[in-house]
């Protein structure tokens, strides 16, 4: 399997603190890679460096073998890299359907066609399918701000898939989601992974969720990669137990 994403020696310093300290890894096509580590170990900073939201202090990011370090987030998204956020980042005043159409519209046509063309950019059907897929049917016309926390998390995830991305970085998708909805979410992620051949990188603190969802898990501590491997291997790794699971 070829690597969709290759990250080599990424560094990010904030003043004298190095939040990410030379991280290298690759993500294979079609896999679900878990990314775990104690709070403050640099997981989200690493995401932000990969996605162009932060400029890395050093290192390279390659997408399908092409260098993409320093591209803006919107440019990366156009290349098929999408993300969800740790904190809720839906558009509260727009309806659920409008949120989804917004999430996909920049992948349709060009600036001119988006001005003179259809107001839904031809995405109403796709949005409705996504709404059905994430079981949000009864909420389609509600403002997103009125949804429960868990439902907004689902919407946030659904938005990441509207552009038909190849690679999705999910930052704590399970945080604050109740157990029954969590099973749904996992189910949906696995389905999209298989059907659409989308590759995922998932930051998560919920061990059960990560271990059952991911084919490989990478463990970070203090800005460095501590271990990388199959979930059962990582679980037994003494360094990991010491740094993280042991507490």
């Amino acid at each position: 399997m070829s690597a969709v994403l290759e990250v080599s020696d990424i560094k990010k310093n904030f003043g004298g603190i190095s939040a990410v300290d030379g991280v290298s890894f690759d993500v294979r096509e079609g896999e679900i890679l878990g990314l775990i580590g104690p709070n403050g170990c640099g997981k989200s900073t690493l995401f932000n460096c990969i996605l162009g939201q932060l400029t890395p202090s050093g290192g390279e990011v390659k997408l399908d073998g092409k260098l993409v370090t320093g591209l803006r987030p919107s440019e990366l998204n156009k290349l098929g890299v999408s993300r969800t956020f740790q904190l809720l980042q839906v558009f509260p005043k727009l309806s659920v359907r409008e949120n989804l159409i917004l999430a996909g519209q920049e992948h349709q046509g060009n600036m001119a066609s988006r001005l003179v063309g259809r107001s839904d950019a031809g995405l109403t059907d796709t949005a409705n399918q996504m709404i059905g897929f994430f079981k949000l049917d009864h909420l389609a016309d509600e403002p997103a701000g009125g949804l429960s926390y868990g439902q907004q998390k689902l919407l946030d995830a659904a938005m990441a898939f509207m552009g038909g991305p190849r690679l999705v970085l999910l930052d704590e998708p399970a945080g604050g989601v109740n157990p029954s909805m969590l099973a749904d979410l996992k189910d949906r992620l696995v389905a999209i992974n298989r059907e659409k051949n989308a590759t995922f990188v998932v930051i998560e603190h919920n061990m059960e969720f990560v271990m059952s969802l991911c084919s490989r898990v990478m463990v970070m501590a203090e800005g460095k990669v501590l271990a990388m491997g199959r979930p059962d291997e990582v679980r037994k790794n003494p360094a990991v137990i010491e740094a993280y699971l042991g507490h």
Binding site: Q53, P73, R83, Q89, L94, L102, E106, L115, M159
Partner: protein, 332 residues
Amino acid sequence: MISFGKPLKIALGLIVIAGLIIVPMNFNRYGLFILSQWAVMTIAAMGLNLTLGYAGQVSLAQGAFVGIGAYAAAVMTTHGWPLPAAIVVAIVLSFAVGWVLGYPALRVQHHYLAFVTLAFSTLAFLVFRNESWLTGGIYGISNIPRPHIFGFATNKPLPFYYVCLGSLAIVSLAVWWLIRSPWGRAFMALRENPLRAQSLGIDTRRYTLMAFAIGSALGGIAGGLYAPLTQYIDPVPFNLSLSLDLLMMVIVGGAGFYFGPFLGAMIAVLLPEWLRFTEGYYLMLYAVAVMLLLIWSPTGILGILDRYLAERRTKAASALRAVAKSRLETVQ
């Protein structure tokens, strides 16, 4: 947003439009001037509503763009060019200048952006006043002709009022189209959450510049109508206070609401006339009214309506849920 029945909405709209066409036929010269001014200021406020209300970019320079449009129209029409050509130039010019003014917005936001645009507003005023070879300086430009539209002279107040009203209609339709298009959605995303917008592939730089440019272009159109309306312009009407007036129209009407500028401009242009009987007290009354309104509803007049309708919807929805729940319990 507003959940009346659709036929009712259309009927209401038609009545208002018919009223705006028919009722002023009996108005005197001054009444028609005030109403034309309302139409012109609504166009300018719609531009600012786009930049500020929808895209969330603070601007204290809308008055300067009205000035740019007005001077473009005044200079060209007094040199024998037809008004439509002058308005096209006004649009292009204010679009281009607005685009450039958008660049600071890529770096600074909120109060800081307000200061940048405020400085621009002052700069524009100084150009109008000092570049007298073009603008006539403090003496201004007089004898600005009113246009012939399809061979009809619009010198008289009523025909020119229809020119203003027709322009307002065209601009309203264009803005309606724009805010319903994916562009409008992207503008709102810019206002609500630029970080998330970027991660969804929305080129926030380009949309920010567009929001400024289009909003400014509408200011230019308003200026292009203002010059032949007053038939005389000097720098004073286009100083900072016009920008502040336009800002107040947008805020009082309801920023980010389609009909906000119509209402805001009506209050700003007509209220002083209605309060005329209070003589010297009108400005004070106006100020107090605005303060009370914004304390009561920071989202403006349409914000009150929106809140009321949202509450009613929530009540209706929870009533439906209660009914559904009780049915479920009966079944069990």
